[in-house]
Structure formats: structure tokens, C-alpha cells
Symmetry: C2
Subunit: 220 residues, 2 copies
Amino acid sequence: MTLSEEDYIKAIYHLGKGMEQAVSTNSIAEQMDTKPSSVTDMLKKLSEKDLVFYKKYKGVLLTETGRLSALSIIRKHRLWEVFLVDKLDFAWDEVHEVAEQLEHIKSEKLIDKLDAYLGNPKVDPHGDPIPSKDGEFKKSVKRLVTELPIGSQGICVGVNDSSVAFLKFLDKNNISLGDTLEILDKEDFDGSLSIRIKGKEMRISEQIGSNLFLEVLEKD
Amino acid sequence: MTLSEEDYIKAIYHLGKGMEQAVSTNSIAEQMDTKPSSVTDMLKKLSEKDLVFYKKYKGVLLTETGRLSALSIIRKHRLWEVFLVDKLDFAWDEVHEVAEQLEHIKSEKLIDKLDAYLGNPKVDPHGDPIPSKDGEFKKSVKRLVTELPIGSQGICVGVNDSSVAFLKFLDKNNISLGDTLEILDKEDFDGSLSIRIKGKEMRISEQIGSNLFLEVLEKD
DNA sequence: ACAAATATTTAGTTTTGTCTAAAAATTTAT
DNA sequence: ATAAATTTTTAGACAAAACTAAATATTTGT
């Protein structure tokens, strides 16, 4: 697959939320910042290669081959994101552009070794799941820390209350979006929570927990 | 610069040994496995962009801008090679193809951080020097271990005597091409050498040392 | 149901990087 | 010094991936 074909397949995957919905020419054009006529041309080409089902005027769907290709690209993208954040110390919101380039590198051995080197991570720094080599993955959902059971583990992805006081608290305790957080215990008495973040254990109040969003894998 | 332009600049740099010699159209075509007519087209384009001096029928030379571009690409290529060998455990002879792809990734921040993460290496796993950010580097030369003074450090790049016995010795002592070797001491009495390799100190006979080639940076 | 609005495709160009075949310049050999 | 051999360039084409403008389908609103 060419670089451009890979970008189209990825866009179709994201717009169609996997393979659920047919995707319109215009939506692809908008997503990829290109013209609908260019999209039509490419859809014909992808259809030739059996990566998509394409019916004129009726939108496009990935074939199984196309779906697996998309997942392979997404896998690479997200593994590289983990590398950039965990190893090279990028911030979680700086990695996308570089990962967009790295995802196109072609070497199965490279990805296998990278995966192992990173400790076979299951989610990227945005909390999104990393498909396995054969295209399997769990969906992820966004939940407040307080809504989750003991033992849950997820990635900090957002705040409910962006007051200066709350953001200062996070900063002071060295908590950043993109960090992995595990819920160790809950105190019935006051609803306070014992957590592990960046390897360090600490206790947070219910109020803090109800303002912090975690992206967690759905237990299917 | 496009991917293709980068490949041409790199080829011209290698064929011209830096900026010493003018490079012929045919030699570029041969090196890049393409046709001379294609090369002529590209040379015009690179000349337009002031990356090369090009005189019809007279060959081509890099400009200073072109030279710095070439060194930037070579820097990226060699840093990625170090990453693949040191961190992902590739063998030194498996890395070239992947590094050819990775060298085209565009992100200054990525390369700066990768360089720091790898410990600012000065040579790649083939013993070739890694240019600094501003394009400076020392030349490297191939020498037998026994020809080098105490304190020398280099990369194992070849053997003089490829007898089964010698190769078995290397294997048994866990010495591979691509490893960094440092000469700690020399024994006047029997010419034996004390070395450090893969962090481990050991002693080798003069015979072993005179069969093992190291690539070392020229001191000047 | 039909006209208007919107979405999609077709047709014809453009750019980038390649190619082949032929022409022109340079180098080599006698 | 000049013919032959070699190298290099030019001219014209092609494929990929994009674009514009025009044509055609589909959907929407009354």
C-alpha cells in the first residue's frame, strides 16, 4: 500500500467507526482536507485492490482485508505514541504529528520489537486501545475516577472542573494528562481514594476523584 | 525536501565523499538504480533549489546547503541505527533497510530527544561517525586492535582471519560485530590486551587482537 | 411528486518522478 | 586529429495523486 492509500484506509476506518457504517465521499474529503473528486478516484483504486466495498453514490465500507490493514496502521501509530511519551518524554499532546509519519514505516520486525520493548502496552497516551498483531482490541470508555471499581486502571485524559485550584492541585502532585492511574482502594467513610500514579502511591479526596476523567478499557 | 530529493542528496554526498569530487550522472543512476535521464531531471530541480551546483555534462557538486542537508539525513539514519541495535536488539546487519525509511521522518524535536535518549552516541553500529546537529563529525578509520594505543575505543567491524577457530572464539566470548570495544591496557611481555566489551572486562592474546578490526574515530 | 439543494462522479489538467528513444556532447583510441 | 565509443541531455510519454469545472444522482422540502 502507498502512503496515500494507507491514509485513506485509516480515515475510512475512523469515520465508519470500524465497519459499522458506510462512509460518504464528502466526509472523507472533509476529514482528509482534500476534494470529493480526489476521493472518488482513490475509492475506485482501493476497490480494485479489494480493500473497500464501493458502490457509486452509496458510500464505502472496508472489506475484512481493509479493516485489518486499518488496524495495523492504528497499532503502529499508537505504539509509536507510547514510545514518544514513555521513552522520549514527549507530552501527550505533542505526539500526533510525528506518529502520523512513523505509522507508515514498513517493517513487521520493527513493530514486534518495539511492542516488546514498550512492555506490550494495551493503550496509548490518550487512553485509546492498541490493537494486537492480529487486530483484536477492547473498546475504551471515559469515566470519572469515582465511577470506577477498585483495581481499575486507565489513562488520565481530562478534567471536569478546570478551576485554577484543581489544575494547581494536579500540577503540585505531578499529575499530567497521559499518565497511567490505578485505583488501589476506596475509603467508605469519606469516599477518598488510594491510587497509584507514575509508580507512586497517594490518597486523593472524593472531590478530586470526581473531577478527573480516566480512559479505561471496557471489560467485555 | 521530498523523499526523493533527500535520496538524491544523500547519494551525491556519498559518491562525492563529502564535497571533494564532482559526481557523474551515470554514477548516481547506478547507485540509485534508476536511469541517467531521470537523474538529469532531478539535478535540474536540485540546482533550482540551490542544493547542488550543476553544469551540464560536467557532473554535480553539493552546495553548502546541500552538504548540510545530506549530513542531517545521515545523522538521522545513524541515530536510528543506534536505536535499533542498542534498544530494540537488532543485529548490526539488519538495520539498514529500516533506517532508510526512518531517516526521512521530519521532526527536529524527535531527533534531539532520540539523540539524548541514546546518550549522544558519536558512532553508529558500523563504526561510522554520527554528525552533530550542526554538521560536524570526525572521520573514522579501520584498524586492527593491535595497531591502536591504550584508551582507544571503537566498534568491531570485521575479522582478518575468518577461520572456524577464530569465529568460535568470538562466539564463545559473546563478541559480535557492532559491539563497542575499549582497549584498557597492553602487556609488554606477551602483547596481550586488556579490553572492555559489552561492559565486561577481559583479556585477549596478541593473536586475537591482530585478527579483529575496529572502526575508530580519527583524533585531531 | 417535483423543483431546489446537496452530494457525487466524470472529464480534462497539473505536478512529481519516472521511463524510452533519439540527439548531442565528451572522451578514448588509433 | 578524427572516428568510434561512451556519457549525458532532450523530447515525449506515463502513472500516481491531486485539482477545477461541468455533469449527473440523490435527497429534501413543499
